[in-house]
């Protein structure tokens, strides 16, 4: 009876083979593993062992093929990334969104002139900062796939950026007793706050869009497949 599936050890061996030839992107690695598993199974059904199949693939031509696939994949991934961002940007800049932005800008301008309510906005900025850092840290801890995206530097910068904004507000506007005496101060502050909110919305939209295609990759792919190379 023909073998229909490689065992976990055999798959792991194949993954190590592909990695040793330079395939390191998780999504491409998964795709190549699937392809070469099918190809290997076809050859195995003629009576060869996986070891023999892999040995027959250790050629310059195979190396060039895999390098080419990897290089092209990275090139197109960059283009795809730019295309998706441009699409999101186009989707966001709609008359409706611009109108909402202007309305919120005017509303916050008025609110900031009132002592009590302005404190709420500072609170929201802090909550948002904590929220973002918490969200990012949670995924960084539990989702191995996104480690390459949630790097410690990215988390650090995110926190540091928010911290700077908050501390700047506290220093300039004497939080918790904000002094927004002139119109120019109120406009400047509103612009900054609106910018923070909008940038975060964009950030989450982009994040959601990018991770949408990678969410299906299971943990097993990066955990079980990364077991030590069999002797």
């Amino acid at each position: 009876m023909d073998k229909t599936e490689l065992t976990t050890e055999e798959t792991s061996e194949l993954v190590h083979f592909l990695k040793s030839w330079g395939i390191d992107e998780p999504i491409l690695l998964a795709e190549m593993t699937d392809h070469y598993s099918d190809k290997a199974l076809e050859i195995i059904s003629t009576g060869k062992s996986l070891e023999e199949v892999l040995n027959s693939w250790r050629t310059k031509s195979m190396y060039r093929t895999l390098r080419q696939i990897d290089a092209k994949y990275k090139e197109y991934a960059k283009k795809d990334w730019r295309r998706r961002h441009w699409r999101i940007f186009k989707e966001l800049i709609t008359p409706r969104n611009v109108f909402i932005f202007l309305l919120s800008f005017i509303a916050i301008s008025f609110i900031l002139k009132m002592k009590y309510l302005s404190g709420i906005f500072f609170g929201l900025v802090i909550l948002k900062a904590v929220g973002i850092v918490g969200f990012v840290s949670y995924h960084y801890t539990f989702n191995k796939l996104k480690r390459r995206l949630y790097t410690p530097t990215a988390i650090g910068l995110l926190w540091f950026g928010n911290y700077l904004i908050i501390s700047h507000f506290i220093r300039v506007f004497e939080f918790p007793e904000p002094v927004v005496s002139t119109n120019s101060q109120a406009i400047a502050m509103t612009t900054i706050i609106c910018f923070i909110f909008v940038s975060d919305i964009v950030f989450f939209q982009v994040w959601k869009y990018i991770t949408k295609t990678t969410n299906h990759i299971t943990k097993e792919m990066l955990t079980e497949w990364e077991i030590p190379k069999p002797e």
Binding site: E5, D34, S37, T65, Y76, K79, D80, H216, M221
Partner: protein, 127 residues
């Protein structure tokens, strides 16, 4: 032994030259297959193309995957991942733009083949 080797070499050369004729039509072939089958994965596309051309079109990995990734980056293909055994399979399917592009490219290729036919066998096309 020598004869066998010669035969293998000739078959290889024959295959390469036949593949050469398909050069430039790979993306159209992929789009056509996806348009017919709905969703397919890389190995399946290569296998189906080989079956349909009775072994003439042997799409190598080095040509197939960059073509698929390019089409995906251009927004013509959407992907879906499915767990199969202990591996993850990446399925490709046409997007709305991809469907339009497939129709356009297939029409273009059909026109090209028709013109080529007129050129190679004018009598047949006149008749």
């Amino acid at each position: 032994m020598h004869k066998n080797l010669m035969y293998i070499c000739f078959r290889k050369i024959e295959n390469v030259s036949k593949n050469h004729l398909y050069k430039g039509t790979l993306t159209t072939v992929i789009l056509q297959l996806l348009s017919d089958e709905g969703r397919m994965y890389g190995y399946e596309i290569a296998k189906r193309a080989k079956e349909l051309t009775k072994g003439d079109l042997d799409i190598t990995e080095g040509a197939l995957y960059p073509a698929l990734h390019k089409l995906e980056a251009q927004g013509f293909l959407d992907t879906e991942r499915v767990e199969v055994g202990n591996r993850t399979r990446k399925y490709y399917k046409l997007t709305e733009t991809g469907n339009k592009e497939a129709t356009h490219r297939i029409a273009e290729l059909t026109e090209y083949v028709k013109n080529l036919q007129n050129f190679l066998n004018p009598q047949l096309s006149n008749g």
